[in-house]
């Protein structure tokens, strides 16, 4: 949606560390409060968990645990489209979505659920690699969503 200006947006960046991810929750809550997005607990939780999982993947795989990395985060509200988009950018290792295997839900495993969960929790997950940056876009519709 780069061709359409968001109604409102909030940009910030975090160190690529698990400890810093708590700021996601506080920042999302603040953004939703600022724009009177009184969405359900499930809407908020789903968006937060999806974003958290992608950030965890960025920390583990893009930066391979290097705490020097940073994650740029942008919340964008598109009121006319009834959606909220979260964009995550890093300049770590690139990623090939084609190589990711769906977890086998019949056999419990310890890893590999992050991206799977993100796809289920939000309405669209998009990834591109551009100019040395990995860019994730998570889109969640509100108003029409069953989790709303």
């Amino acid at each position: 949606m780069s061709w359409l200006a968001p109604t409102n947006s909030l940009s910030f960046d975090l160190p690529a560390s698990y400890e810093a991810l708590i700021m996601l929750e506080k920042s999302l809550d603040r953004f939703m409060e600022m724009h009177n997005l009184q969405k359900s607990c499930q809407f908020r939780h789903d968006l937060l968990l999806a974003t958290h999982e992608i950030c965890a993947n960025i920390i583990d795989h893009a930066y391979m645990g290097d705490p020097v990395g940073r994650i740029s985060i942008k919340f964008s509200l598109y009121s006319s489209l009834w959606l909220l988009q979260i964009e995550l950018r890093d300049n770590g290792r690139s990623f090939d979505p084609e190589t990711v295997q769906q977890p086998n839900l019949e056999v419990p495993q310890e890893h590999g659920y992050g991206l799977f969960l993100a796809h289920l929790l939000v309405d669209n997950v998009n990834y591109i690699h551009h100019n040395g940056n990995n860019i994730w876009q998570l889109v969640k519709l509100f108003g029409l969503s069953s989790s709303d």
Partner: protein, 114 residues
């Protein structure tokens, strides 16, 4: 993640509080492993006070389950009170893998005689 622990009749019950995520999941894993290293392989992880779980938390639960079952033990989970926090268990179908209970008392009782 503040948590309480108790050991009654060879069943360990761990009650974490708040978030369990990639940041503090290792701490929970360590607590669980401590019990298992001492030969306790029947565990209840009471998630009723947990408000947020991510896939790193799930990894700890699965790891504990696998280890406990190697010695004919088991790990039972108590559902989070928050419906939103329950989502990860249903989406990953972990609610079919674990004995998910409504309370710690029920989970402990489900072990039967040990």
């Amino acid at each position: 993640m503040i948590q309480t622990k108790e050991l009654i009749l060879q069943i360990a019950t761990i009650t974490p509080n708040g978030r369990i995520d990639a940041f503090n999941a290792p701490e929970l894993r360590q607590e669980i492993n401590q019990f298992m290293d001492e030969g306790i392989n029947h565990l209840v992880i009471d998630l009723s006070q947990v408000t947020f779980c991510d896939s790193a938390a799930m990894a700890v639960f699965v790891s504990a389950l696998k280890r406990s079952r190697q010695t004919e033990g088991d790990v039972k989970l108590v559902w989070p009170t928050s419906p939103a926090a329950c989502r990860i268990f249903t989406l990953t179908k972990m609610d079919r893998v674990f004995d998910m209970c409504d309370s710690a008392v029920t989970a402990q009782a489900n072990f039967g005689a040990i």
